[in-house]
């Protein structure tokens, strides 16, 4: 690259770049344009081909940033954060409540069958108890699905945090910044024993140890 001629403007330009870096904020396009102008002002006399290429590169970067900002604004990340994610978590909470209520009703019926069994002949009572046992076992689903939904809600909150980060990176005018950013999910502090790593909830069937696997593992441990 051709070496630029040093002028009296160099010190001012350096100060300006230092100030932008010190602010630790996303660099605004206007700032980049101002820097480009300042760079051009430092060029005295003829502009070499290399210098012209540098200017062109910086101009392209500024255009790219402007374009990215427009595209992100079009996605409306503020809507994702303020409407879609809260709405999705509310719906999931409603699912948990509805299944809990339905499971309660099913358990009421199973317990009534148990009571009824006590009034029936032994053979009939045994059949009824077997059926109620199956109902109790099947109702396990409510706990496991509840935990799975909790995992999904946690993932949505993680996405919400990432959207906040995008909004913050591109500054005002592209959706509201969070007043007080929440800690990202993965940064939740672990306790002294770091037990948080052991709280993963239900695994998908293909990844999970079943009871036989666990029994074998348990037996192998001293």
């Amino acid at each position: 690259m051709a070496k630029l001629a040093k002028t009296a403007n160099d010190d001012g330009l350096t100060r300006r770049l230092d100030k932008i870096a010190a602010d630790a904020k996303p660099v605004e396009t206007a700032d980049i344009a101002a820097v480009v102008d300042a760079v051009m002002q430092t060029l005295s006399g003829d502009v070499s081909a290399g210098e012209f290429h540098l200017y062109h590169e910086i101009e392209e970067i500024a255009d790219y940033i402007q374009s990215a900002k427009r595209e992100i604004a079009a996605i409306r990340p503020d809507e994702i954060r303020e409407h879609y994610i809260p709405s999705a978590t509310d719906e999931l909470d409603a699912i948990v409540d509805a299944t809990a209520e339905a499971t309660g009703t099913i358990l009421d019926s199973a317990e009534a069958l148990e009571q009824l069994a006590g009034e029936l002949p032994a053979e009939m009572a045994e059949k009824l108890r077997t059926l109620s046992t199956r109902i109790f076992e099947a109702c396990n689903f409510q706990d496991v699905t509840g935990q799975r939904i909790t995992k999904v809600v946690r993932a949505l909150k993680h996405i919400e945090h990432k959207v906040d980060a995008v909004l913050a990176a591109f500054g005002e005018g592209h959706g509201q910044k969070p007043e007080k950013p929440e800690k990202p999910v993965e940064e939740t502090p672990a306790d002294a024993d770091d037990e948080s790593k052991l709280l993963n909830g239900p695994q998908l069937a293909e990844n999970a140890n079943n009871q036989d696997d666990i029994d074998a593992l348990f037996a192998s441990l001293k």
């Binding site: 809990a100 499971t103 309660g104 358990l107 199973a110 317990e111 148990e114 108890r129 109620s132 046992t133 109790f136 076992e137 109702c139 396990n140 689903f141 409510q142 706990d143 496991v144 509840g146 935990q147 037990e195 790593k197 052991l198 709280l199 993963n200 909830g201 239900p202 695994q203 999970a208 140890n209 079943n210 009871q211 666990i214 593992l217 348990f218 441990l221």
Partner: protein
């Protein structure tokens, strides 16, 4: 040795549905004296207040988890011999290893069935 079916059993889970399911399954097995707690902290208070012959606990609870409860139980001279069964959806190998290291008596993964519960209790108390 015959199993004392009148022993107090403490079941611990933050899902009321699960407490109800486990209580009913224990009742079908013949355990009538079943008490409940919805987190590790309240379970520990009950354990220190009354004699229990068995604890069946979930893992993933707040503020005190089932693993923390287990560690408290095993660290308490009066409670350390109480059989402690973990019933949990946490099925990773590291969970089983951690629970075993903390002194769990047996480990059941959710969703579970009545036969598994009976099998684990038989392993602890003998046939009943």
């Amino acid at each position: 040795m015959a199993v004392d079916m009148n022993m107090n059993v403490l079941i611990v889970d933050d899902y009321k549905t699960m407490l109800r399911i486990i209580r009913n399954l224990l009742k079908q097995l013949g355990f009538e004296n079943v008490d409940e707690a919805t987190d590790g902290g309240s379970a520990l208070m009950k354990l220190r207040d009354r004699n229990y012959g068995l604890v069946i606990s979930d893992w993933n609870m707040e503020p005190m988890t089932g693993l923390q409860l287990l560690k408290e139980v095993r660290a308490d001279n009066k409670l350390k011999a109480v059989p402690f069964v973990m019933i949990t959806a946490e099925s990773k190998t590291e969970n089983v290893v951690a629970a075993k290291a903390a002194g769990v008596t047996n480990y059941i993964v959710k969703p579970f069935n009545a036969a598994t519960l009976k099998q684990k209790l038989t392993a602890i108390f003998g046939d009943f």
